[in-house]
Amino acid sequence: MTSKPSLRTIWTSFQLLLVALLVPALLGINPAAAQVDLNKRELNVPATLVAESQQVQAGQSVTLAFVMNPKPTWHGYWENPGDAGIGMSFDWKLPDGVTAGRAQYPVPDRLLVSGIMNYIYKGDYAVLVNLVVSEKVKPGPLPISVKSEWLACTDEVCVPEQDELSINLQVVGPDAAVSLNNAFNAYREALPRQLGSAATFTVKDDLFRLSVPFPANIDIETPYFFIKEDGIVDYAAPQKVNRDGDKLIIETAARGDTLQNISGVVKIGPSSGFSVKAASGDVEMSGTPFIGSGDSGNFIGGGDQSNASLLFVALGGAIVGGLLLNLMPCVFPILSLKAISLAKAGGNEAVVRRDALAYTAGVVVVATALGGLLLALRASGAAVGWAFQLQDPKIIFVLLALVIAIGFNLAGLFELPNVNFGNKLAQKDGAAGSFWTGALAAFVATPCTGPFMAAALGATIVLPPIAALIIFAGLGVGLALPFLLIAFVPAIRNRLPKPGAWLDSFRKVMAIPMFLTAIGLIWLLGRQIGTDALGLSLIFLLLVTLILWWFGGGQMKGLSRGTWATGALTAAIVGGVLLLPNAEAMDNQKVASASSATLPSEPFSEERLSELRASNQPIFAYFTADWCITCKANEAAAVQRQETADAFAEANVAVLMGDWTRPDPVISKFLEKHGRAGVPLYLYYAPGEEPVILPQILTVGTLTDLVT
């Protein structure tokens, strides 16, 4: 029996002490801009309350964000949760003089499980709320707290969660500095943007139809309408989407109720959407269908079946589309190459068959490769569309060099040593030539979207990669189909003329469409890089031509200048590509064209605005976007008009233009400052005065009246 504590006891006590010290320390470590709540670590969709700025001036507003971070496999819900689930609720405890606005939710996703539709957020998301601080509030601390409840679910289980969140703000005087949290730019970008125009909807014969004004030239990827009001739309029913000129029409099954006015979000891409308000009216399902709507991407269970049917339909469309491509101007010059090789092989069945298969192989390989490249670029986040290869001036330049070379080859400037276009029958090397002809045809043909193709290509966005590649291959097959038919169907082949002397003249004539293609590409390149850079590029192309001429001259004399020629050509083309302007220069090009519009304008920036205001010049500032029909209509009718330009020039009005086609945090903030969530916005600053917000519908009179 001893009174001394044993070693074991000491160790146990030490462990207990350690635990007693560490646990509170661990619990205290919770990165949050808000006060720590011990229960937060248990939440499956933990929420953090963040303010855009800790300081707020009396009379102004500050935006708060509920930043939700669902754990893997968990999700939170949109304000209309769909068939099951519940939205988020907020119970604010605000000091006097502070009011909270409605919660603004980012564009949601869909989750369809066993025929039950959920409108959710798959990953992190932030719900924004504007707090307005009245002018009467005195400078000092401003404690804000809110009890929020939401539902956190996986596919299997749901847990209702809640949290008491709080944040301490500071009301500062009007001259104090206010620093902004840049993360809010991303939060705002995820919100749906306001469409400038009102939509129409109808509920008839168990069908719901919505017609949304949306410019025809803006690409959409995965259109879907998320309705805010319950009971009107059958959430789980697929949505059919048509485009009819400047209208986007969405049709789905109706649930039973109807209202005079509805609202919701039209989603058009992975994270972009527009807020719409629609009034009851008449809507017909006119226009052409857009494939890929409704049964895309977010399936769990039942998805494979719909995907398979989509694949078949899209594949059929791709093959027919490819077939029709043969008639499009893009491909025709290349076809002339094919026609020549066909013509010279008019008699020999085996040769024609082999060449046709080689051609098909070339087309299919390139079409699939381009498709694969497109998918890879998309997967890495680049916003590219089909025919992306022609959006890069480097590719156009190289293609241009190639087309010019082929044109001169056809015209007889030089011959290609291993592909003999002469009067002789095609040699075994003809197969290689056919392959490359096919490859070239696919490369040049793809930007021409004909009928059937757009829908088929739209399907590639929503199908799994293997299926998408099959569709691209199908496009290639369709493109090569006529030549396959000619090669394998004796009836057609026998009608081909036999080779003869006419072949040489035919070949020279075929150079003409090739040069026409070259002119088209020169025009395209010029639009992209500007006239000056185009001049430089043309010099390099002239160099290419001269090299080929020299090479051809050598052939006539029997000299082999092949190696030199190849080296010189490579140098010339690489040089031309390197000297192409970079992206910055091309943006300036865009600005240059803005300056040459009827009403020239400068790009909007807050600094330029204050500069101009300080110089006491009247200012007309307008905000527009390519996808905003009202904006474009106003511009055509009132802004870009000679009378307006003259009146403004006379009164020395400075014009600032804010382009909100792509998300721009500077413009977003400015719009919010003027109480607007979207475009169009027209402001007129008379010298020394506060801005006047002009009406949404402008006339020339409205604008000229400002300065008279």
Binding site: S114, I116, F312
Partner: protein, 205 residues
């Protein structure tokens, strides 16, 4: 080759439209579809056998927090008891598939019913989800009321406060109790449809 593709795609589309789950739904005002299910004792129960009485169907999932809200508070049991006192037949239906949340075999269900003091006439097991899909039951709880003539007169939520908070039961309008009161008084149901709320029914597929 093209025709073959076209025909295949047409066939595929036709097959898809026939295989759509949850496309069925019962229309309020029409005769409710008859069905046969086994209850937790293994007894077969058929809907049409209750013709002449009002029938309430309640979709159930013991793991769903919204169901727990109404059972922990005693609200569902009270509603069931009051209904049965009026001579209404109360059917609690579980459409959870095997392996999913809330799925129970007979003995397990019997124990749960006893523990929670359930007052339903029958607890029906619909593991294949056939009846659930026929009625387009989307949430738990999801309530349906069929009058004595077999017509569906109510479908929707149990009350008008879609939360998981027990405190909200007191101030909410219990749509089922109200509808049964209307029926007893010989009137038509004033609120025949409301938004069902809860967790999604855990169907097999």
């Amino acid at each position: 080759m093209f025709y073959k593709t076209a025909l295949t795609s047409i066939a595929a589309v036709a097959a898809i439209s026939m295989a759509m789950p949850l496309a069925a739904a019962q229309k309020t005002g029409a005769i409710a579809q008859d069905f046969k299910l086994t209850d937790m004792y293994g007894k077969t129960v058929q809907l049409s056998s209750f013709r002449g009485k009002t029938v309430v169907m309640e979709w159930h999932n013991p793991g769903c927090p919204f169901v727990v809200k109404h059972y922990d508070s005693g609200n569902m049991q009270k509603t069931q008891a009051a209904a049965r006192k009026q001579g209404v037949v109360w059917l609690t239906i579980n459409s959870g598939a095997q392996g999913k949340q809330g799925y129970m075999k007979g003995p397990e269900a019997q124990k749960l019913a006893k523990d929670q003091g359930m007052n339903s006439d029958h607890y029906l097991l619909d593991a294949k989800g056939v009846v659930g899909k026929a009625y387009a039951a989307k949430t738990t709880p999801h309530m349906y009321i069929i009058d004595a003539s077999g017509k569906l007169v109510y479908q929707g939520g149990i009350d008008d406060k879609p939360t998981a908070n027990k405190a909200d039961i007191k101030g909410a309008r219990n749509h089922v109790t109200a509808a049964l009161t209307d029926l007893k008084a010989g009137k038509s149901v004033s609120v025949a449809q409301s938004r069902p709320y809860g967790c999604s029914v855990k169907y097999a597929s």
